[in-house]
Point group: C2
Chain length 176, copies 2
C-alpha cells in the first residue's frame, strides 16, 4: 500500500511547520499529489487531582479564532524526550508538579495531512506551585470534575480533539 | 484573550491546504507570529454493527509513512453539508449504508496549528453494498469488536486520534 515519493512540487517553512506538496506514485501505479505539514511532535498531559478533577487550561487558539478548554500540551524541542517535556509543559502552563507519571499512548492528531505525533501522559499526585507560561502564551486553568468534563464534551463546550480523547481514555480506564 | 491579525508574513497554497504565517498582537500588547494551516473541514463516521463491531478502514497515510486503522472519514467539498458528506464517505470507503445516523459532536483535530473541524457521526443499522473509493485511495476495511478496539488502542495498534476518540466516545455512551 506504500506511496513512493517522486518529487517535491512546492514547499514553505515557518519556525516549526513545514508545508510540502509532493508528487507520489501509489501502489497501483497511479500518480497523485499529497499535501502535508511536517510538525516537530508534541506532548499532552491529563492531570487528575485526588478529587477526580481534571486540570484544563483556557487559551485563545489563533487558527480557530476562539478560546478553547484543553489539557496542558506543548511542542517538543528538537531531540527532547517526551517524558521530560511533559512535566515541563504541565508546570509552565498550570504550576502543577506531579508525583506519578504514566505514559498512556502516542497518537497522530491529523494523519491525513500532518505527521504531528502526540505523546499522552497521565499525571497524578499533584502539588500546586506557580505557573510560568511562555511570554506569548496567555493561559488560565480550571479544575473540572471528570463527570462534568464528559457533560462538557457532549454539549460541545470542550472542542479540542486531544482533550476529548484524553478525558474519555481516563474514564474508560476507571470503568475497566 | 483575542489575538489581533496584523499582517500575513508568508503563505503557500495547495489544492486543499493553505499555509500561513501571520504577525499578531496578543491581548497583553506583545507582538508574536502564528503559523497555521487552513483546512476545508472533514467528517468521520463510527459505524457499528448489530454485533457491536466497529468498521475500520486500513489506508496508507503519506504524512506518517504507514498504514493506519481509521474510522471512515473524508474532507468536505466546498459548501457541503456534513450530514450529506458522512453517508457518502462511508459508502465510498466501505460500501456500507446505514439506516440510523446520529451526530455525536464537532471537534478540532489540531487547533494549535490548524482550523480543521471534524464532524463526527454514529451510524447503525448497517447494510453492505459495494465500495467505490476515489482512484487515489487504496482502502480495505475490517470489522473489529468494540472491546478488541479498546485493546488495540491501549497496545498502540490504533494510532489515529479521531478513531481513538470515536471508539472511546461510543464506549462511554454505552457505559452511561
Amino acid at each position: 500500500m506504500e506511496e513512493k515519493f517522486n518529487k517535491r512540487l512546492r514547499e514553505a517553512k515557518g519556525r516549526f511547520l513545514h508545508f510540502c506538496v509532493d508528487e507520489v506514485t501509489l501502489s497501483n501505479g497511479h500518480i497523485s499529489t499529497r499535501e502535508m505539514v511536517l510538525h516537530p511532535g508534541a506532548v499532552a498531559v491529563i492531570a487528575v487531582t485526588a478529587e477526580k478533577e481534571v486540570i484544563l487550561v483556557k487559551q485563545y487558539r489563533y487558527p480557530v479564532k476562539e478560546v478553547l478548554y484543553e489539557i496542558p500540551a506543548g511542542k517538543l524541542e528538537p531531540g527532547e524526550d517526551p517524558a521530560v517535556c511533559a512535566p515541563r509543559e504541565l508546570a509552565e502552563e498550570t504550576g502543577f508538579l506531579a508525583e506519578k507519571w504514566e505514559k498512556l499512548g502516542t497518537f497522530y492528531t491529523a494523519p491525513g495531512f500532518s505527521n504531528e505525533t502526540m505523546h499522552l501522559f497521565y499525571a497524578t499526585g499533584l502539588r500546586a506551585e506557580e505557573a510560568h507560561p511562555d511570554p506569548d502564551e496567555i493561559i488560565t486553568y480550571e479544575k473540572i470534575p471528570l463527570r462534568k468534563a464528559w457533560e462538557m464534551i457532549r454539549t460541545g463546550q470542550i472542542k479540542d480533539g486531544k482533550t476529548i480523547l484524553a478525558i474519555l481514555w481516563i474514564e474508560q480506564m476507571i470503568t475497566d
